[in-house]
Assembly symmetry: C2
Homo-oligomer: 336 residues x 2
């Protein structure tokens, strides 16, 4: 990897804990990238704590920062990473920028994480969805979760054909070269659909799929891998995972997407394991299970749990820098 | 060093380049600290470029972030680092916080960099000076530059006695346990005053002085070291230096301040050397000399020079993590 690569990272900032830019920037820096950091919000902590303070960066503030960088003729980034961007106005500013960079540098590596919602619920304004749809063609890699794939494609994924439809729409209609969907719960139809040589040790295993568009008129090449579930919710995992894919993506490599995803999966999983091991050492009160009803009665119960589950990025920085392990993404011959 | 230490860093944020938090946070993280990051401004780049865009964080935004962290009962930091804070209202919010943390944790390590100005000119509002004066007694270590020492003590330093007066005022009147002043140009009276065993190879050498208060009624223990000048101006050096002192300061060590300053000096100097070596490889147009008149005629001349002199922190991260070299701060027996 060249040591002179710049990443422009546009996502949220929190003072305490590791989500958004706090989960992405340090790993990118450890892996040798100069990171230009634009904060789309400045909050005390992530919203999962229930209580958070601070402000969103307005569209005009974003525009001012980006325009000044343009006027100062700072070197354009070779890679662009965008994550949580609150509201359609701010997102439009980012779209303009991505569009300009793509025009100027066809070789730009742009990882777009269309952060919109999870588990069936949007947490951005619906107008954001349309803007993301029009931005997809600017991306090199996108990393939507299952719900975001459904939202972007308007396909409800419930069997092999609907999964093929959704992935097909992303490649064909939206012209996305590379799609990665991770942390997919192993539904029975999915387990049956998976090729035999992809291990499914446990019904709780999570699935990760990557799909790279090949030559025009040809089907995409799909890879998959399963990862053991570590129970409980950890925030910032998606942000870390996307940053690691971007960091390890080698456009000139033999199989750039599966290689990068394999490394990112392995490192992300190891960081979660480290975090989980740490959480187990905490007082019982700080490692309560997820229980909305109990959390409502005692908001500090949620806060304590979240605190104990902040990613151990600093303690795990050798994992991030490591050259070692990689999960093997196996080709899924009969996907199409 | 414990791996569970938290630093709360309150200073400026720039998207492009390495000053303020961008110069301090990554080194602290590399050295194993969880860093809670509060941005006092969100700018495109540092003001030395002439043109910069973005906004200052208001006092009420700062207060909101800090209050929410308090309400969420996040663990208090074991170390506090404060740098550039624009305006008296925002600084008062930080003062309140520092005062609360100091009361709650007498063992708090607080490095206060009273960023107010340089080379005879203030770049903050004069009302900031008074607030800094009242904050000094909260600090464990302060890292003013020469001009800031003069401003805080109202002593014009021009001979050994006035230097003793200024250092004495900081320890006695303002109750600061540890003072570090670096990048002091080697004036003839200073070279003559220095003990013989501190090498002064070149008249351009820069001097660094540290002074630690001992028992009540006793004079402080002063150490000094010279560092070769690398010509030209590099931004963010003070911010990096302060962060490294904080990172290496071991309150239980045998000589905590000189040890930390020796390591910080060595690493900072090596990063500047790396940056300077890189700057030499640039096109001639990007490594112009400092010349205010020419810069006024062509503002991009200044921008190009600044760009080429952004600290090579990412490329030099092994220096930051290194256990190796340290400059020896020598005791200055006859200072008093």
């Amino acid at each position: 990897m060249s040591t002179s690569q710049r990443v422009l990272s546009i996502q949220s900032h929190v003072t305490y804990g590791y989500v958004g830019g706090k989960a992405a920037v340090f790993p990118l820096q450890c892996l040798g990238y100069d990171v230009d950091v634009v904060n789309t919000v400045n909050f005390s902590n992530h919203s999962g704590y229930g209580r958070f303070g601070g402000t969103r960066t307005s569209a005009s503030e974003l525009r001012q920062i980006l325009q000044t960088m343009e006027e100062n003729q700072f070197p354009d980034p070779s890679r662009l990473l965008t994550g949580y961007i609150p509201g359609p106005e701010a997102l439009s500013v980012v779209q303009e920028l991505a569009s300009k960079l793509r025009k100027r540098h066809p070789e730009l590596v742009y990882l777009l994480d269309p952060v919109m919602g999870d588990s069936g619920a949007l947490y951005v304004s619906p107008s954001v969805v349309c803007i993301y749809k029009s931005m997809l063609r600017l991306a090199t890699v996108i990393t939507p979760n299952w719900f975001e794939v459904e939202t972007l494609t308007s396909v409800r994924i419930e069997d092999p054909q609907s999964l093929r439809d959704a992935i097909g729409i992303l490649h064909e209609e939206y012209q996305v070269p590379n799609v990665v969907v991770s942390s997919i719960p192993m539904k029975p139809w999915l387990a049956k659909f998976l090729p035999d040589d992809i291990p499914k040790d446990q019904p709780t295993d999570l699935l990760c799929i990557s799909s790279s568009r090949g030559n025009p008129g040809k089907n995409s090449v799909v890879h998959a891998c399963t990862v053991p579930l570590i129970p409980g919710y950890f925030s910032g995992v998606g942000d870390l995972f996307s940053a690691l894919i971007l960091a390890h993506f080698d456009p000139d490599g033999k199989s750039p997407l599966p290689d990068a995803v394999g490394k990112a999966l392995s490192k992300t999983h190891d960081i979660i394991r480290l975090t989980n091991a740490h959480a187990q050492t905490l007082d019982e009160a700080d490692r309560t299970t997820t229980d909305d009803e109990l959390d409502r009665k005692d908001p500090m119960r949620l806060v304590r749990r979240m605190r104990g589950r902040e990613l151990r990025l600093i303690q795990g920085q050798d994992i991030i820098r490591g050259e070692g392990s990689s999960r093997e993404m196996k080709v899924w011959e009969k996907f199409w």
